[in-house]
Symmetry: D2
Subunit: 389 residues, 4 copies
């Protein structure tokens, strides 16, 4: 698609979901640095998310994390959804949390003790209840389950427990609801992880049924893993549910997407576009930590990074590429791709924003808006939101 | 199984397949060092393999590699099989080679050009013909296919071509024959590899049918990959076809199995034993390079390393382990496993060998046999076997 | 040294330092699980450390971490030292902490702001004061300093600041005091780390002078790094100050030493023994997290793992090894090493313990002692110690 | 340097050295694919190198590899130098080869056998003789030395032999000649490598003297290594001798520089420019394999990739960057860097070329030149050059 108008039209349809927890404090095991103005509750997180959408135009949904965003009862969630709507937002994926209770020391739905598994499952079912209330489509499941030491638990039995638990939750999903199963190489488990790779997630999804899809978190792979290959494969199999975007130099660094390897992000988006994944069937979500940088600007920047990678991917001259590929013209084909990557797409994105009635420079516009200073001034007292809070 | 008699009985049933190519020269891209006495044809490779079996008692089969071990016609292979049989051996897996013709510069059954794909497929079908002649059960497929540069070829279309090619070969398999599909992270392709991980191999096997199984080459993973988890998972799915054993510190180093991380080999064998994989359904094959060390002793040593890991895995006190696991006794469970690992199993293996009528020290016995000196003296002239020869 | 008596004599001289923080709670960024009976202050940590020494006989010193183990004034530290001594212990390395204040968001002695650097330096100087009070020989410095994003700060200027800061602290060291400089590939910094590898630590130590030495934390390397090579090199250069022992499958997992790759630990100890490093000049310290397992038994186990690796390293038949090496007998030389590794050294260690007047089975003896139950009963109320507390 | 004229002036001074061996065939251990038109001797390699310089204007020197480029006697090299000069080229670094004789199976200057070490040293001294004849400044040393198995040889003694050998060669260097010492994580050695990291190379260079410098091959690091940090550090220490440019996704893939991670190449060039390394003191060399792609266009492309990264690095707004850094403005500082990276520098490079009297599109111009067809037609018969030939 080298037709500028078509590229721009596609870019206007883009939707990047931001995660409520990225607006709060986060950190490493060594230290969580606090920042002034950080939200103290889900409502304030939505306020910030609304700002990101206001200045980018392509961040219309917000993922919730339960219990971090728990509010009272069905009505509470309905009210939260309404609060979002009033700010031009919708509530997105519901993220379950089965890793922050002392009970989960040895796992959640893979735990050797049936009582702990039950507790975890009840929480997952509660999350589907919340989806009913919020109108969310996707239940996003990431399990911290695993073991730290060889022998600690039975790898295979843990898979049996996992399969059993997932089946129960899957059975609870309503019409139009989906289960997105995330995999991760390691951390917090340091020897085995119960869903360590896309193959494991895929195998479980296959058995569960068509509502189960795999989520690719770009930071959750072993060094050297070719992520775009996985994306292409999952799209080919009809099992790509979405992305958790972030970036990494080392492990699951959770840096801003596009910060560590923008060429990789471009290649991923190329497979998305080429494989028919640039639709609402695939959820494009951020899942990042902003440990030392200002949070709202970092999220705006991340959304823009996704936009730039998408714009470049949309600009690949697919005909020229296919022609070079079929001829076995290695350098020519690579050259076509690199031409798109080497292009400065910031001008076209500025046009897109202007045509959407937005400021062409979201970060500068946000800075001018005074929102950052206002929340520092207003959000005083109370307990700052953060991982686990 | 902490009953010494039972452990010994199990060890006597072990069978490790050695690869014909390990008896010939191999090397790195920088240099292939030649060794005196190296076989010059398949017959001499079988002579050497017979020695390995003679001194270990647990290496009864030899994998062939076509065309490196090509002989004339159906009769040639039957004769080769008879030659093996006369030396107490059987012919094992047939390994196809679709990477050493100039035609395969851009791939084989995934190549963009249908003519090259056809050539590769014809070779694979020839391999099944050879299986008919040799009585081999397993067709082992490793594809060097992939790309070196982003954009070079279409990831997804290559998967389509792969699926189509595999289906044709699968359809040709006879009763009792199997297809073992190997995956590899990278090399010789340096950007994408068409079967890069167990998930991809598994997905293709699923579609092909029950005769298709995944082969785990212990050197073909990204850094940090938990191989025993993959083994446990494939056994749980009924899709583990076998192993290509070797070891690595870095990439696909192809060192002697057990040389780099004997604890990992033990953990793998623990999953094999525990998951019901210690049967003839799973092929235990070596796939190694002996670039700088003497080849026959290195293969004997490798077989012994597999035996030691197996003996330890068989010796795990499974009841104590299960009890500790179910109680969540992390250190206790790990301790049970480590107890088995820390045990010196060389005495029990010496007993096993003596009870099998063998010398308890295979390497010393081989050295005393004079075979090494004899082949140096006799195998003069001709062209030494080696990768590609 | 294959003389059993000599091996045992050497093993009796072994000293493994345990870290005060390992007795407290630790965790990942996702969750710190609390354990009953965990110490609430430095005094209780010393009580636990005394138990480890009581049952192993080879853990006579305890590393402190400031401010986590801060007590009041010079007298407080002297009193702490006396408290240790009464329990058969000495205070070991003083570990500085320049990463848990909000001021350190962008670094400590490499921070762009001179005021923050001054604060960090003052803390380091305070640590030397504490060494004077405790009689500690070693100041151990690990800096969390680094950056998360390309461009965030000037790599080279940060090195200048680092050099300047280290020089000031080095100048403050008294007679017989040493600075141990630790390196780490990454975490908590995710783009650059200011002391990321042994080369950087070594280069700074060279400029500082003979009291500056490099500490090798076994978990702080990129995948595939050959740690024993670094150990051999630092010993050859006279710059190995000590070890922070732990183990890892992935990143800096901080599992029990010897748990992930006992063969690697053996190879490291082989270089230590062979390179003349098995003396008090090299500090053998544990630096681990016990996130899910019982802490005191985990530390006892870790000490035992170091003992086992040492016993095996001491048992290598050095003459046979040298002979095989000089002949270029690859398999023979490897075989000599593997013979020592394959040997079950638990019997000789049981003997060593009995000759030292200890129970031959430290873990069982500790379990029988009732200490674990006693601290659960007694250490009620107050705030449990842990990272950052 | 955001002044366009200054950027262009700097770009015109750029010099990228191409390696004679990149013009010949290369491959992996699995297969060397041959290409029509490949040079058959050093003279034809220089013809091709001249084409690269003709169309890029910034590739004025060619590295030789001995013995691959061996010609007869001192006069032969002088003639080769003259042949180069007539084509607008100069001969660059002399690369020694101590890895392709059977004698080098266990190493070269680190070999346990003094006779092999002597042979290797004599070759290195011959290389200095050749430098005298060619007028080359740099002796580039990469040693394949190492071991494949634990215990195989003594790590420390190998360092002693290395130090001794290097000292002899260093002593032979004439006025204005330098020794560039390369490090590599692994391959072809798979357990230890005798110069595995920059720290080891640096330590040796320090002891040798000021003419000894470290070469950074961008493909020779463990996964996750921050190469630009090493570059900044070596520049700070005055020990950066040069680069071997190439790129990698996995191990030492030796792909075209800039193909795998162009952002990393940019960051490296940023440190070069900022650290005062953009001078003739630092040798910018390509060291790549073109296994499947056309060789001359691939080299032209590689030179262009280095140019683009350099142009972006030169365009960083250093004042704005420093200001953001000193304020601790994480996002701002990162943004300044990303602005330069996001800029399309192809237009400015087209201008540079036009001002240098070149075609603005080197690849298209080369294609039009007919050189590729001509060499295919003319270079018939004889033995194609390649690794080892």
């Amino acid at each position: 698609m080298t037709d500028r108008a078509a590229v721009k039209a596609a870019l206007k349809t883009q939707a990047v979901e931001t995660p409520s927890w990225a607006y709060g404090n986060s950190g490493t095991r060594f230290k969580v640095f606090t920042q002034a103005g950080v939200p103290r509750d889900p409502w304030e997180k939505l306020q910030d998310a609304a700002k990101v959408h206001e200045f980018t135009g392509v961040a219309p949904t917000v993922a919730l994390h339960i219990p971090w965003d728990r509010v009272d009862g069905h009505d509470g969630y309905a009210e939260l959804a309404k609060y979002a709507e009033e700010r031009g937002l919708r509530l997105g994926a519901i993220n379950a949390n089965t890793f922050q209770d002392d009970d989960y020391r040895l796992g959640s739905i893979c735990h050797p003790d049936a009582a702990v598994r039950r507790k975890a499952l009840d929480h997952l079912l509660e999350c589907v209840d919340i989806m009913d209330a919020t109108g969310s489509r996707d239940l996003k499941l990431w399990f911290a389950d695993g073991t730290n030491y060889p022998g600690q638990d039975d790898i295979r039995e843990r898979q049996d427990r996992l399969a059993e638990g997932l089946a129960e939750v899957y059975g609870r999903l309503g019409e139009g609801q989906r289960m997105l199963l995330e995999y991760k190489l390691f951390e917090p488990a340091f020897y085995t992880t119960d869903v360590p790779d896309w193959g494991t997630a895929y195998a479980h999804c296959l058995k569960l049924g068509p509502k189960a899809r795999v989520v690719v978190d770009t930071g959750h792979h072993a060094p050297g893993t070719n992520i775009e290959f996985i994306v292409a494969t999952l799209l080919r199999e009809g099992r790509l549910g979405g992305f958790d975007f972030n970036s990494r130099f080392y492990a699951d660094d959770d840096l801003m997407v596009g910060a560590a390897d923008p060429f990789q992000l471009f290649r991923i988006m190329c497979e998305v576009v080429h494989g028919g994944g640039f639709t609402s069937e695939v959820a494009f979500m951020l899942d990042q930590c902003h440990n030392i940088e200002a949070k709202i600007p970092a999220i705006i920047r991340s959304v823009m990074n996704v936009q730039e990678a998408t714009a470049k991917a949309l600009s690949v001259d697919r005909e020229a590429l296919a022609e070079a590929q079929v001829c076995g013209d290695v350098l020519g084909a690579n050259g076509v791709l690199m031409d798109a990557y080497g292009t400065d797409v910031r001008p076209v994105l500025r046009e897109v924003r202007e045509e959407m009635g937005l400021d062409p420079e979201p970060l500068a516009a946000y800075a001018r808006s005074g929102w950052g200073r206002r929340i520092v001034a207003e959000r005083v007292g109370g307990r700052q939101a953060g991982w686990g809070a």
